[in-house]
């Protein structure tokens, strides 16, 4: 068979092509992505050490073992998550964001990085990135009530009330007893003039969660709009007691008490 002229030519050509293909074009699988692992026992010990230090609030010290793990397994979402939390605790939001970004790429459940990634961007003042990351989170799991709430809340913050309300409605349909969604829906309904429905919603929430600060604030706002200053002041005072650091409560309360707020709104 080898004496056939074509075979004599084709055989070495085919072999050379195979050599080229399997050695140059498609070389053996690079084991790198999974091969830089620290031996399992050592990795386990390092992580336990890192978690222990995190628990003890020794975040600076926790960086070392966790960074080592991250360098050994740069694509491990577990270490991204750990390090992101450490950087958050240290106030290093730049690094935190990077870890969450890596986490989003490598984690099988990237939504678990929400809303931390958005909040880290917010801490950096990168508001556009906040919006984008919230949208990304929503896109990961569009039927997850949490993701719906985060996205709707962000839209609401940006004044896109109609879109926010749509999402809240969708969220309420999926999770009718989700207080944050109900409160958000109440706020957006009130903003669109549907104060009665809004009042109904916050009342429902406050019935089961009388200490929900957001609900109290929303109630104060809605009741004030409806001219019911006394209960509005009561809600807001309660909210102030529960969350003294919540500055907006103080402002709202002052406004309602001076009756200016209502007038302005009217």
């Amino acid at each position: 068979m080898y004496d056939i002229p074509f075979v004599r030519f084709a055989a070495p050509c085919a072999i050379l092509y195979l050599f080229f293909y399997f050695l140059i074009v498609n070389p053996p699988m690079d084991q790198t992505d999974s091969a830089n692992q620290i031996p399992p026992e050592e990795a386990q010990a390092l992580r336990q050490k890192g978690l222990r230090l995190m628990e003890a609030k020794q975040f600076e010290d926790a960086l070392e073992p966790l960074t080592k793990l991250h360098l050994a397994s740069p694509d491990s979402h577990i270490y991204h998550h750990d390090l992101a939390e450490v950087f958050h605790a240290l106030g290093n939001y730049e690094e935190e964001v990077k870890m969450w970004e890596l986490y989003m790429v490598h984690s099988p459940v990237p939504g678990d990085g929400c809303p931390q990634i958005s909040e880290a961007y917010r801490a950096l003042g990168k508001l556009d990135e906040v919006m984008k990351s919230t949208k990304r989170c929503f896109d990961f799991e569009p039927t997850n009530a949490d993701m719906i709430f985060f996205y709707a809340h962000e839209l609401e913050r940006r004044g896109q009330t109609a879109q926010a309300r749509q999402l809240y409605e969708k969220g309420r349909a999926l999770a009718p007893n989700y207080p944050d969604i109900n409160v958000g829906l109440a706020r957006t309904r009130s903003a669109s003039g549907q104060d009665a429905e809004a009042k109904k919603l916050v009342d429902e929430v406050l019935k089961t969660r009388p200490d929900n600060v957001d609900a109290l604030v929303a109630a104060g706002l809605i009741y004030a709009r409806m001219g019911q200053r006394a209960p509005a002041i009561q809600f807001l005072r309660h909210a102030r007691v529960l969350a003294p650091a919540y500055r907006e409560v103080e402002t709202l309360l002052a406004g309602v008490m001076r009756n200016r707020y209502v007038r302005q709104m009217q």
């Binding site: 070495p12 050599f19 399997f22 091969a35 690094e95």
Partner: protein
């Protein structure tokens, strides 16, 4: 003339071959010497700094040597018989005469104007590089023209598949044996028994694979040649075409990237050199063949400079064994001997390639004798070659699976990277097969933006470290200004100094100096290699990758501030600082008349000491960059320790010279104290870069940015008046390029600007001030080739992109001896983007758009 007109034609005598080899070597070396003047980086290193003095001597003597070579050419012509046909012989005489008509005037002209004595960094050198290939080409073509008609080609090719297969298999075994022994010898401190077993077996299988691939190629050539009327002739031509292509690719992909020579000019020169050398070798093949009754049966045999008529060449096993032994010893001696002076394995790899050819020729000759004739078994041989491919893959997969059981802390692929550092022959194949490089433009981008040629015009970009309108220094009174002494020891490693390594006991003076001052614990250089690292110290930050943007003074922030404060400067103006440091009345030279490579700290400080009388009249600044422990200086001095001290695991030739340097440094400090100026001086001991001293087979600093090269010592002594006033964080990431901003700050220039391009003050009045300068990522680069990296995590993490070898690696710098890990796909994505961005920032600072290399 009658002698020349002989009508009897015989093969070229051995003396003729030898003469032509000498002539060819002369012109090839001249051409390469000229090329080194054209490439900016090699011009600085070889022509200006005279890294290899023999090359510069060659250039200076070239106009005389040229006449010697012409004389050899005359002898060669006299010895070489003319063609048998009288008419052709007469033409040959005229053609030979033309050679003298052209090349004698050139010789006369170079006597009048010896261009190679002092070459310029410009296109004229490139043209000379090309022009110097012409004599070789001319002589080769003359020989070819004279000899060609005398050759008789058989109408049928000899069946030598078995010979080729035999030669390929034996070469594989021979090469893997020789270079494995070299690897075991060189890596005895690093390679354990298991490592050796895995390394040697992998090396053998890989050699076998590549050699049998060569067999398949040669078989294909023979098949194609068989289609023609005179198969041996076509086989001969294709063999040389194949050789020429391999030579071109070797030059273009292995040699030129390592000196940052890219683009059309590189391609053109590589092509010209490959063609010229191939024609020269082919002409010798033709000339060596004695035209006789027998016709040429094998083009391959002729191409390998053997009798191509089927007669046996090597007759005894003893002779074969002796030849193999001699070749093996020579290969091992070259590999071991050149390792410490090599340019990141380049010379070892090139010589290994030459040994490949020699080994193949040797065993092919054996084949002529031993396995000639016999039945056609080509089909079976091809099948055997084919089955080696799955066998290779299976072996590799098996080794990867078994390897973890050896208890090695590194992966098998990582181990092979290490092993290849000791086995040059395996390294050629490992690098070629392991790179898996599909360049999406990134490596082209790096190459294009590295060592930008001077033909690319870049305007100077002023490095103003402090606001020009900043208030004058509070210590404007000149008598209160500190004296400043910066000693940048070329290639000084941090871990060879006592302040950084408790095991070091041979640098007591530096240890004491560090106790009196501050040793920055986490210091690096931004550039591997003196070419850019030394200028960056004066610049106080990053520079565009060109040697050099001129005039350089706008970038030289350190000289500017020293001039502003009226410092009297004493500077060892080495070959690089001749461009970087402007000649002004304030600059007085140290080491005047001393070659850069001979700068000796002891001599320089002895020269400086009496000049410090000037310190009583005003502030004094001194800078020197001694070469005492530079690897080429050590090798030039025989590569031996200079005393009988016991340096344990430290590299004694380096450590012993460092010990001497330490003594001189200590004496100088004492003299400063005796003069009473030590406590009013800023004294800095640092390095431009570190060095590889055998790590994983690496030596020197070539074009790499391994951790041991980027890490530098940085020890600073402040005047007493400043010690209480300023604070620092020794553990914070710092660079030697932070010195200029630091001096600015300490002289009272505030605020020091922040930005990617700038260094930072290492000392500030409040520690908080330093936080503002912190960056997440720092670009680091080789001075000499397209190798760039990112240093991040406060120096805990280093990522490198090597566009010479197409490798991406990362290092955990917290390890005692950080070793390269292969980068993962996600890391490549992230860090390649970062490196691109950073190079873009540096380029744009110079109002220069980075050259794109594709998508």
């Amino acid at each position: 003339m009658n002698l020349l007109l002989t009508t009897h034609v015989s093969s070229l005598p051995a003396i003729g071959i030898a003469l032509r080899a000498i002539i060819a070597s002369f012109f090839v070396v001249t051409s390469l010497f000229s090329l080194l003047a054209f490439v900016p980086f090699t011009y600085e290193v070889f022509h200006k700094a005279e890294l290899v003095p023999v090359l510069n001597s060659f250039g200076r003597m070239h106009h005389r040597l040229y006449w010697g070579v012409l004389l050899l050419a005359a002898i060669a012509f006299a010895l070489e018989p003319l063609p048998g046909v009288v008419e052709r012989a007469r033409k040959a005489v005229r053609v030979r005469a033309m050679f003298w008509l052209v090349h004698v005037p050139i010789g006369v002209w170079t006597l009048w104007k010896p261009v190679f004595a002092v070459m310029v960094n410009g296109y004229s050198s490139y043209l000379w590089a090309l022009a110097m290939l012409e004599p070789l080409l001319y002589l080769s073509l003359v020989l070819w023209w004279e000899r060609w008609p005398g050759l008789r080609w058989s109408a049928q090719a000899a069946a030598d598949d078995r010979r080729v297969f035999f030669a390929a298999a034996c070469s594989a075994a021979f090469l893997s044996l020789v270079y494995s022994l070299v690897a075991i010898w060189r890596g005895q401190a690093s390679l354990g028994l298991v490592d050796r077993v895995f390394g040697v077996s992998t090396s053998f299988v890989t050699h076998l694979l590549v050699c049998l691939a060569l067999f398949v190629i040669l078989n294909l050539i023979a098949v194609v040649a068989g289609w023609f009327r005179r198969p041996p002739l076509v086989q001969f031509a294709i063999c040389y075409l194949f050789g020429c292509t391999v030579f071109f690719l070797t030059i273009r992909s292995m040699v030129f990237p390592s000196i940052s020579f890219n683009g059309f000019q590189a391609n053109f020169y590589a092509g010209a050199l490959a063609v010229t050398v191939s024609i020269f070798l082919a002409s010798l093949s033709v000339a060596r063949h004695a035209p006789g009754a027998k016709s040429i049966e094998s083009g391959l045999t002729l191409a390998l400079w053997m009798r191509a008529t089927g007669e046996p060449i090597v007759r005894t096993w003893r002779r074969v064994a002796l030849s193999a032994l001699a070749l093996g010893i020579a290969a091992a001696a070259i590999a071991i001997g050149s390792a410490k002076t090599d340019w990141n394995h380049l010379f070892q790899k090139l010589t290994a390639l030459a040994v490949w050819i020699a080994a193949f020729r040797l065993f092919y000759a054996v084949g002529l004798w031993k396995v000639a004739g016999g039945r056609h078994q080509t089909g079976r041989l091809l099948i055997a070659a084919f089955f080696l491919l799955p066998a290779y893959r299976l072996t590799e997969a098996g080794a990867t699976a078994v390897w973890p059981r050896s208890g090695s802390p590194v992966t098998f692929s990582r181990f092979l990277d290490v092993y290849s550092g000791f086995d040059a022959s395996f390294k050629i194949m490992h690098d070629a097969l392991g790179s898996g490089a599909v360049d999406n433009g990134y490596y082209q981008f790096l190459s294009k933006n590295t060592n930008l040629p001077r033909s690319v015009t870049i305007k100077p970009a002023p490095m103003n470290l402090a606001d020009a309108s900043a208030p004058p220094a509070s210590a404007a009174d000149r008598s209160q200004l500190p004296h400043i002494f910066i000693i940048t020891v070329d290639s000084l490693r941090r871990d060879y100094l006592a302040p950084y390594n408790s095991q070091v006991d041979f640098t007591p003076s530096i240890a004491k100096f560090a106790q009196e001052g501050i040793a920055m614990k986490n210091s690096f250089t931004r550039y591997g290699g003196t070419g850019l690292s030394e200028p960056s110290i004066w610049v106080g930050g990053m520079m565009i990758h060109q040697q050099y943007v001129t005039p350089f003074s706008p970038m030289n922030s350190m000289q500017r501030v020293l001039e502003e404060y009226d410092y009297k400067m004493f500077v060892s103006r080495d070959s690089i600082l001749q461009t970087v440091v402007a000649e002004t009345p304030k600059v007085k030279l140290l080491d005047e008349g001393v070659q850069t490579m001979n700068y000796d700290l002891c001599r320089t400080l002895t020269e400086l000491e009496p000049k410090l009388d000037a310190a009583s009249h005003g502030p004094v600044f001194a800078y020197t960059q001694p070469q005492n422990i530079h690897i080429s200086a050590i090798n030039r001095e025989g590569g031996k320790a200079i005393d009988d001290g016991n340096y344990g695991t430290f590299y004694a030739p380096y450590a012993s010279r460092l010990k001497r340097l330490d003594g001189c440094f200590g004496d100088f400090i004492q003299k400063l104290k005796n003069r009473g100026i030590y406590d009013s001086s800023i004294v800095v001991l640092t390095a431009d870069h570190g060095d590889s001293l055998g790590e994983e087979g690496r030596w020197g600093h070539a074009y790499t940015i391994f951790p041991e090269i980027l890490r530098v010592p940085l020890i600073i002594h402040l005047p007493a008046s400043m010690r209480d006033r300023y604070v620092t964080r020794p553990e914070a990431l710092s660079f030697n390029s932070d010195l200029s901003p630091t001096i600015h700050y300490l002289l009272g220039k505030r605020p020091i600007v922040k930005g990617e391009m700038y260094g930072r003050p290492l000392f500030t009045e409040k520690i908080d001030e330093q936080n503002a300068y912190k960056r997440d990522h720092y670009l680091v680069s080789s001075s000499y080739a397209a190798v760039h990296g990112i240093l991040s995590g406060d120096g805990r993490f280093l990522y490198t992109s090597d566009a010479v070898n197409f490798k991406e690696s990362w290092f955990d710098m917290t390890e005692t001896a950080p070793s390269a890990h292969r980068a993962t796909s996600s890391m490549k994505l992230e860090y390649q983007k970062l490196i691109r961005e950073k190079i873009g920032i540096v380029s744009r600072f110079y109002s220069f758009a980075p050259l794109e290399g594709g998508k």
